[in-house]
Assembly symmetry: C2
């Protein structure tokens, strides 16, 4: 057993942090540690929190952590920011607010971006969540900034997905366009002291009538004013109710099975791609690639030849 | 030479439409047709138009088509909508407006979504754009709805990327967060008759000072009121100026080389993945996958074994 595996299972916070760095940088020991941790995962509740920028997700997460800590729960947060590798979300100071928990040993917060992420962002996030699960977190919150395909991919890691909406921001239409309605297990209307709450609630209800959902679970709409700690208890009880629904209906196991199988394919995919990149870096196929670059050779026939060379037993 | 290749090169609109359907469904003749068309591509100007929902992209594209048609140019439009496979953007009626050109033989409009797209969306879009290029379009407009990673990927197909912003919608911050500032070759402030134009222009200028750009090309900011056909001439002349810059500086060739080489890797990637899926469908590895689904086997070791089985000469 790898030394870090032992430290993580013993609840050593530095061991967990180190393992996530290993994941982000795709160091060779990654696979061994994750294989060893795997049998110790599956205990944490995995909650995804997403919504458009400005909906108040960070503040909601911040206050939800406070609420869950008051219940004696150990909390992990993975804040995912798949936006610009140059500017990131950090420039906007989202993360600064969460520093209020920086000295609390029962809260582990980690931001993940695309910078230096050699595996895919959703794969790295899933592995980081597993580290926190094995490390002993009762709840892992997975927060994404913004709405887009990469955020949707990341959200599939969670068992329960809460979409945070902001009254008066045209958020209902945004969520509809971004395909986020279909993945929501619940909606949170945050900043529920602002005007436009009733209108937004009606719009979301109408959209829920249109969108195909798990017949046995209609996503509830919860109102919060996270800055005043209002609605957090209701939000948490909706999460627990959803998790019971997942277990009782078999839907939870079905989702997990599907995601685990998808994960196998994703890992194979990444490994093959890396194999190809290594061959290319060593100069294999350089002449043909140079013809492609000059536009004198089409990329379709070049790809077919590359497969024959690098993956000889693949038709 | 495939019969469709001949028809497309002869300017047959139905041949072009059929080829794009073949691309979307990834039919076997796809590769042959694209290989044959490739030497006949590279003549069209490829213009990407993106921005957040509600910025008025569809209306801008619609009126830009009218302007370019008045210049005697043949126009292709590929409208990409990588949002929900269930609802799509179509439900919002964006596409309806473009029907004003439906009877004009000099305009070819095609929407592409994720539904039924077996290759990746950006790969399919790139191939569709090549069909329109070989078919004889002078200009191909690539329009994406919304902002996210998949839209950014799609935009890389274009030579010139215009980001459409809407005054008063907090659009500058949105664009900043989504990493779209770095890819913009120009900004279009549409609906320039609304309040907030000066403020938005100043914000964009300030952001341009912060963001790393091609030193020899600072993205201009163009104001349009597309519903009144204002600013279209200025927009088009900025596009032409940017294209001259690309050619004269060598930047255009550098971008094309990079994208063509990336494309080879993407095709290889897709082929290998399909090979794996076919093997799996035939029942290869079914027992192990079932263990993974039940959670009794970790996905990491399962992936390693699958590579040994399906891609035996890959380390």
């Amino acid at each position: 057993m790898h030394e870090l595996t032992k430290r993580i299972l013993a609840g050593d916070v530095r061991g967990a942090a180190r393992a996530i760095t290993i994941i982000e940088n795709d160091y060779p020991e990654r696979s061994q540690i994750l294989q060893e941790l795997f049998p110790h995962t599956g205990k944490a509740k995995l909650i995804g929190i997403t919504g458009s920028p400005g909906a108040g997700k960070s503040s909601l997460v911040d206050n939800l952590i406070g609420y869950l800590r008051s219940q004696g729960l150990k909390i992990g947060v993975v804040a995912v920011d798949p936006t610009s590798p140059f500017t990131g979300g950090a420039i906007l100071g989202d993360r600064v607010r969460m520093q209020s928990h920086a000295l609390d040993r029962g809260v582990f917060i980690r931001s993940m971006g695309t910078r230096g992420s050699l595996g895919g962002l959703s794969r790295n996030t899933r592995d980081a969540v597993r580290v926190l699960d094995a490390y002993g977190c009762d709840v892992v919150l997975i927060e994404t900034v913004g709405v887009g395909q990469s955020e949707l991919d990341v959200m599939h890691i969670a068992d329960t997905i809460a979409v945070v909406l902001n009254p008066g921001a045209g958020d209902s239409v945004q969520a509809f366009k971004a395909g986020i309605m279909e993945i929501a297990d619940m909606f949170v209307i945050n900043k529920a002291d602002l005007p436009g709450v009733e209108k937004l609630q009606i719009e979301v209800e109408q959209m829920l009538d249109l969108v195909k959902h798990d017949a046995a679970w209609r996503p509830p709409i919860i109102r919060t004013i996270s800055t005043q700690n209002q609605g957090l208890e209701q939000l948490w009880s909706a999460v627990c109710e959803h998790q019971s629904h997942l277990e009782n209906s078999g839907e939870g196991q079905a989702r997990r099975s599907k995601h685990l199988q998808g994960e196998v394919l994703e890992i194979v995919h990444d490994q093959l791609f890396r194999h190809m990149e290594e061959k290319l870096e060593k100069g294999g196929y350089a002449a043909a690639m140079s013809e492609v670059a000059q536009g004198t050779r089409d990329p379709y026939s070049a790809a077919a030849e590359m497969i024959r060379l690098f993956f000889p037993h693949t038709p």
